[in-house]
Symmetry: C2
Subunit: 144 residues, 2 copies
């Protein structure tokens, strides 16, 4: 091997030793949110009594992360993420449900979803006439 | 003990046995978000290149929960929650910092915080002229 080629090989090995760990730590960055690997998905869901998010003080709030693995304080992250993926991130498609066993009592509850879903910002808000209707929506995402 | 008193005592024990576990599970609900125990705190933080949240696609997004214990995909939940508590939830107070070692290059990055902090809805947005200024803000919350 000529001297120049040997030097080039040595430099390549040295560069890999120095930069390799950095690249590795970037890939394993907390939150798994390194740009380019996959689009970030991180959400906050709230529920509160009131006609709109502006007037409904959040009584409960949970977090949900869907990549690299489902996690968060949501009681069923895996189910909620699967539901969101199946709906293509369309929150309106999720929150429909049967009204069979609920009264017409008007005591509105508002659920909100804010954050990022597959790289896009999300700000969703939906009001149910009463808590029974929310619970009957049969959505894993909104069961928290 | 008269018979009626004995029956009453028996019923009380039975009721406790049936209802006790339910009350316990409510207290230990996922996310620790049972209303009345403490105000919920659940946040989504994003960072993206652009002049405002409307134009900056989120490159990274992490979640942060501060009660009952610090958690989330944020790399330092405990530090971030302590910082937020110390600032009384004032995000503007956090994001100041020295500009000593940064250039004047204009390549804006926007950080956002959305969700709930101690029961109040939060929607915060701050733009730094370049990433160096963001990193030099010495805020644990914004280091993700």
């Amino acid at each position: 091997m000529p001297n120049t080629a040997r030097w080039a090989a040595t430099l390549t090995v040295a560069a890999t030793a120095v930069c390799g760990p950095l690249a590795g730590s970037a890939l394993a960055s907390p939150g798994g949110a390194a740009a380019g690997l996959y689009a970030p998905s991180a959400l906050v869901l709230t529920v509160g009594h009131g006609e709109s998010a502006a007037t409904a003080a959040p009584a409960r709030a949970v977090t949900l992360t869907c990549a690299p693995t489902p996690s968060g304080t949501h009681p069923a992250p895996a189910g909620a993420c699967a539901e969101l993926r199946a709906a293509g991130g369309d929150f309106d498609a999720l929150s429909g449900g049967s009204e069979g066993l609920c009264t017409k009592q008007y005591d509105p509850v508002t659920v909100t979803v804010d954050g990022v879903w597959q790289g896009r910002r999300v700000a969703h808000e939906r009001t149910f006439a009463n808590e029974c209707l929310l619970n009957s929506s049969e959505s894993v995402l909104f069961s928290f």
